[in-house]
Symmetry: C2
DNA sequence: TTGTATGCGTTATCAG
DNA sequence: CTGATAACGCATACAA
C-alpha cells in the first residue's frame, strides 16, 4: 500500500517560487506576468509557462496593498429579491466584468444600520468604488459623506441623496407618476388614492409630486386624506385600501409600489369590488407578478437594464480619470394592462 | 474670504499616525485596537479615542495579507433573481454578518465560464471560504477541485457535485417529486407529463427519480415520451405542453420548475383547457407568483431559510476547526393550491 | 533587458 | 505592560 505524500503542504505559490525555479528575480516575474514591454518575449513565455505549471494564482490582496487601489467595486442595494434591483445588478455586471472589474454585492434589507456596516466593510477592504441605492430607513447621510471624504468614487442610483457629491443616476419618477395618474383620469376614474413610501426618499417624493401635478392639470382637486404614507408592503396595501373604498369612496389607486397595489387587489377581490370596472389600479416597478396575476396589473416599467449600463459606464469613466455626468435621468414607460382599462390590449405611453 | 485648507490630503489614517500622535509604537496601537489583554485599559481608551478622533479605518487588506486569512466569505449562485437563491442568501447573511464575517455574492447566470471566473476571483482575493451552487451548464468539476486543493473550505448547496469533498447541503428533491406526483395521482390524474432540467444536475435527476418511483408505487407505468428534458423556462414550458396535450393526451404536469409550469398554464389557457378540472399542474420552488396567479399553482416549497442557516453554521464550524457534517438533507413541503385540486383550500403534506 | 532595494499597513515574535 | 523588528506578496523607482 502506498503512502500518501504528506509532505505536500498547501502553501500557495508566489512570484518568488517562480523566480527561484527559473533563476530570475521576483521583479522580472512580476513584470513578465504584467506583460511589461521591458521584458523579452522569450522570458515572458518561460515565466508564464512556469506559472501555469506551478498553478500560480496572483495574490490580489498583496497587489492591492502595494498599488493602493483595487479593481473590486462594491454595490450596496436595499434587497436583491426585487426585480428592479436584481436586474440593475445583472446589467452592471455585464459591463464591469468583461472590463476586468469584480463586483461584490451587499444588501441592507432597508436598514440604515446595515447600510453603515456595508460601507464600513467596503471602505476597510479598500474597494475601488462604491455604487449604492439608499435604504428606506436612511434619513441621515454622514456615512455617505465618509465615502467621498476618503476619496472613494461614489455613484448613487435610484434612491439617492442629492446633497452628497458624485454622480446620481435616477429614474424619471415624476413622469412615471404623472403618466399613471393621467391615464387613470382619462380612463374615467376620479377619486384616486395614492400609496406612498416614506417621503424622505426622493423616489417617493417625486412620484407624489407627479400625482399631485397630474390631478391639478386635469382640474381635479388634491385631497390629503387620499394619501397613505408608509404604505408600500402587501400587508399595508391590504389594510389601507379598505378605508379608502368604504369611507372615502375612492374609485382608483395609484400605488408607488407593486406589492402594496397587490395587497389592495387582494382586499378589493374579497370585498367584491370589480377591477377595472368599479376600481382602477396602477402599481409601480413592473414586478414579475404584475403581468401574471389576474387581472394583470398596470404598472410603471423602469429601465433597469439602461440604468445598469449608465452606472457601469460612469464607474469606468471615473476610474479612467474622466469627468462623469453629475446627474442622469432614465425615462420610464407606463405598461397599461387589465387593472386600469376596459380594453384589454397592452398600450404603452 | 477664507481660503480652503488645500493641505488636507486624502491619505488614509494608519496605525502609525495614531502611534505618532500619542507617542507610543505601532505595535501598542495594533494590540490596543485588537483588545489584547496585555495592554492596560487606560492606554486602550486613549488609543481608541484617538482612532475615533482621526477617523481611522483599519486596512483589512494589509491585515489579511499579514494574517494570511480573511473573514470574507464568497458565495457563488446561478442567479439572485430567483426566490430560492435570494432567500438562501439572506438567511446566510443573517447569521454570518453578526458573527463578524462579510459575505460577497457573485452570480454565474448559469454559465460554467462565469463560474470559473468567480472562483478565480475569490481565490485570488484569498477569501476565507466559498459557498456555492452549480450552474446548469457545468458538467466538469476541475474548478471546484482547485478550491479544495488550495485548502479553502468549500460548502456546496442545492446543486452539488457529490465527487468533490466537503459539506453538501441539499433539498430532499426525491421526496418533493414523490409527494407531488403521488398527490396528482390521488387527485385522479393518470397521464402525468414531467418537465425536467438538464439531468446532469443532481436536483433534476433526483426529482426525476421521485417522479418515476411515485408512478411505480401507484401501479402506473412509466412512459418515456412524457418526459421533456431541458424544459425549465417559461418559453419551453409554453411549447412543450402543446405536444403533451394534443398528441399524448396527458392530463397533468409535474414540472421541476415553476417557470416552465407557468408557461404550460399560459398555453393551456389559450387552448381552453380547464385547470384543474381537465388538467392538473404542480410546479417546483414556490416562486412568489405561484400563489398570486390564477388559478394559484401547487408547488414544492423548499426551505431556503433553513438551508441558509445550515450553510452559515457549517461555515462557522469549519472556520473554528470543528468537523462539519458531510451531508445535510433539508425536508420540503408540498403546497397544494388550486391548480391541482378541486377543493380549493390549502393543504400541506 | 534584467536586477536591487524599498515600502504598502498590519501583526507576530522576541525582547525588555 | 510596551517596544523593536521582521515578514506577508507584490510592484515600482532607480541602477546597471
Amino acid at each position: 500500500m502506498e503512502l500518501l505524500d504528506v509532505s505536500m503542504d498547501k502553501r500557495r505559490i508566489t512570484i518568488k517560487d517562480i523566480a527561484d525555479s527559473l533563476d530570475v528575480t521576483p521583479s522580472t516575474v512580476s513584470r513578465a506576468l504584467a506583460d511589461n514591454p521591458r521584458i523579452s518575449e522569450s522570458t515572458k513565455k518561460l515565466i508564464r509557462d512556469k506559472a501555469e505549471e506551478l498553478g500560480y494564482e496572483p495574490n490580489l490582496i498583496a497587489s492591492t496593498l502595494r498599488k493602493g487601489k483595487s479593481d473590486t467595486i462594491g454595490m450596496i442595494v436595499p434587497g436583491i429579491n426585487r426585480s428592479f434591483f436584481s436586474n440593475v445588478i445583472s446589467s452592471v455586471e455585464e459591463i464591469l466584468n468583461p472590463a476586468g472589474f469584480n463586483l461584490v454585492i451587499i444588501q441592507t434589507h432597508e436598514k440604515t444600520e446595515n447600510e453603515r456596516r456595508a460601507i464600513r466593510t467596503l471602505l476597510r477592504n479598500r474597494v475601488g468604488a462604491i455604487i449604492m441605492s439608499l435604504s428606506v430607513q436612511t434619513k441621515e447621510y454622514g456615512h455617505l459623506q465618509e465615502i467621498t471624504s476618503k476619496g472613494i468614487p461614489l455613484v448613487q442610483f435610484d434612491r439617492v441623496c442629492k446633497e452628497i457629491e458624485g454622480t446620481k443616476i435616477v429614474n424619471d419618477n415624476f413622469q412615471g407618476a404623472y403618466l399613471s395618474v393621467s391615464h387613470l383620469i382619462k380612463s374615467g376614474y376620479r377619486k384616486i388614492v395614492h400609496f406612498t413610501g416614506a417621503l424622505n426618499l426622493n423616489v417617493y417624493k417625486e412620484r407624489f409630486e407627479g400625482y399631485k401635478t397630474a390631478l391639478k392639470d386635469a382640474g381635479l382637486e388634491f385631497d390629503e386624506s387620499l394619501v397613505f404614507e408608509y404604505s408600500i408592503t402587501r400587508d399595508t396595501g391590504r389594510r389601507n385600501i379598505n378605508k379608502a373604498v368604504a369611507e372615502l369612496k375612492a374609485d382608483a389607486l395609484f400605488s408607488s409600489g407593486d406589492f402594496s397595489a397587490l395587497g389592495a387587489v387582494d382586499t378589493l377581490k374579497e370585498m367584491g369590488v370589480k377591477i377595472p370596472d368599479d376600481f382602477g389600479v396602477v402599481g409601480y416597478a413592473n414586478e414579475q407578478f404584475t403581468e401574471i396575476m389576474h387581472p394583470s396589473m398596470t404598472s410603471v416599467e423602469q429601465n433597469p437594464q439602461e440604468m445598469g449600463n449608465r452606472i457601469a459606464k460612469t464607474i469606468i469613466k471615473i476610474l479612467n480619470g474622466e469627468q462623469p455626468d453629475e446627474q442622469v435621468i432614465i425615462p420610464v414607460r407606463l405598461l397599461i394592462r387589465e387593472s386600469s382599462w376596459i380594453n384589454k390590449t397592452l398600450i404603452t405611453y
